[in-house]
Symmetry: C2
DNA sequence: TAGCATTAATCTATCGATAATATTGCATCA
DNA sequence: TGATGCAATATTATCGATAGATTAATGCTA
């Protein structure tokens, strides 16, 4: 999956751009689940020829965000309640493992990184309060969660963890479409951070699991097809 | 990754064929780590034009088997000791989780499937004895391991588990190139099966972990570059 | 002769066109 | 009227050609 392949620090090709743009639009929910991805149409939309588009779609196939049916073109990956819970379960497994390892190995810089990320997120939380969180909140939220597990040095675990984070985000954005729920998410984040910095793996993992599950439950209550 | 995307039951395109063939050749070790994948060259080798080859390579990028460097083409993914152990660790995590779930949920058909797969594998083991295991052994070996976790119904876990199995196989085939080690692999398989059928998760997971680690150790002792 | 710049050769990424396949609409028949 | 087969249309997968970038080779300068 794109998140596995080591990022290229070399020239950016049109394929790379198309890949990034399409990925973003699918995760955003701008391109809806099951939507037919007609190459001729996307060509105009992203300003390239057919080849870069097709290659980008092929790559996204590996991420599980696009589905290719032989001779019938591409579609945005569909969503279902059962898959949402499947993803959440898998995500919890990886996240807890990464978190434990991080707690075992983390040094001062790691601790500082968490506190900084939390500070930036909570600053935004209090400023927004009831306003809908935008692009910036998504970024800081992701950075906070990433900072927690950043002392885990397994590249594969990190890559898969990140991919699952993105998958979950897709579900969240599709369902909640920017309107945050009424539960006290900032407090949950704080509790997770506190347990983590106290090096209490047990509690931290439990809290993370609940954190993920609550979101999944909220998402699953909205109108998603199938299962 | 290709193993994530639900298999298409529709028409097989040239891209699909090229993807399957390339994947096979990389996992086999026929295409060696770091090898430059020149499209012009592969065209002739797999009997298609450039587009299907490029799309197949793009997909393989997602599996982590091919590395794309912008404007500098594709290469077979490199290998290193550190990555081998990283993969093994991750693999053990997923496999044990899947195995536990399987042991919890498995019914009679699951048990029967394991015994059948084990029987087929051991039949071949005793016939081969010291001969080098070929294509058939690889298939039955994979089937045996798959049968153990087949009662786990998480599609994501299964897909990632399978991908990691393939990654490990690549390392094994590159390093051991068909010559099996001198350790009693058949006995290890038997012990794993016994613990699994006895529904003893704890023991089964320990044995599986050791099983994986022994292979990794053996592989890492051969001449692999880096780290 | 070592280092640098410039040109030549090679390869990659991308485009536009085409053949093969799937889908749609329509007419026919039971 | 509903189903079935056929023709017209639209799309997909694939090819061959080309522009653009990279690497290798060459010659020039100090």
């Amino acid at each position: 999956m794109g998140s596995i392949s080591t990022l290229t620090q070399t020239a950016v090709t049109l394929t790379d751009q198309a890949y990034a743009a399409l990925r973003m639009d699918i995760l955003n929910g701008k391109l809806k689940p099951g939507f037919k991805l007609r190459v001729e149409h996307l060509k105009g939309l992203y300003g390239t020829g057919a080849s870069p588009i097709r290659e980008a779609l092929s790559r996204l196939t590996g991420d599980g965000l696009v589905h290719a049916e032989g001779r019938r073109g591409f579609r945005v990956g569909r969503v279902s309640r059962s898959e949402l819970f499947d993803i959440t379960k898998m995500r919890t497994l990886l996240e807890c493992h990464a978190l434990k390892e991080s707690i075992d190995k983390g040094d001062d810089a790691w601790e500082a990184g968490i506190m900084a990320a939390f500070y930036r997120l909570s600053k935004l939380d209090s400023r927004l309060l009831l306003a809908s969180p935008g692009e910036e909140w998504e970024v800081r939220h992701k950075e906070f969660h990433t900072s927690l597990v950043s002392a885990c040095d397994s590249r594969w675990l990190q890559a898969h963890r990140q991919n699952l984070f993105d998958q979950s985000e897709r579900y969240r954005r599709i369902a909640l479409s920017m309107k945050n729920s009424d539960r006290p998410v900032p407090e949950e984040h704080k509790a997770i951070m506190t347990a983590t910095l106290a090096r209490d793996s047990e509690t931290a993992c439990t809290l993370i699991g609940e954190h993920f599950n609550r979101t999944a439950e909220a998402v699953s209550r909205t109108a998603l097809i199938e299962d």
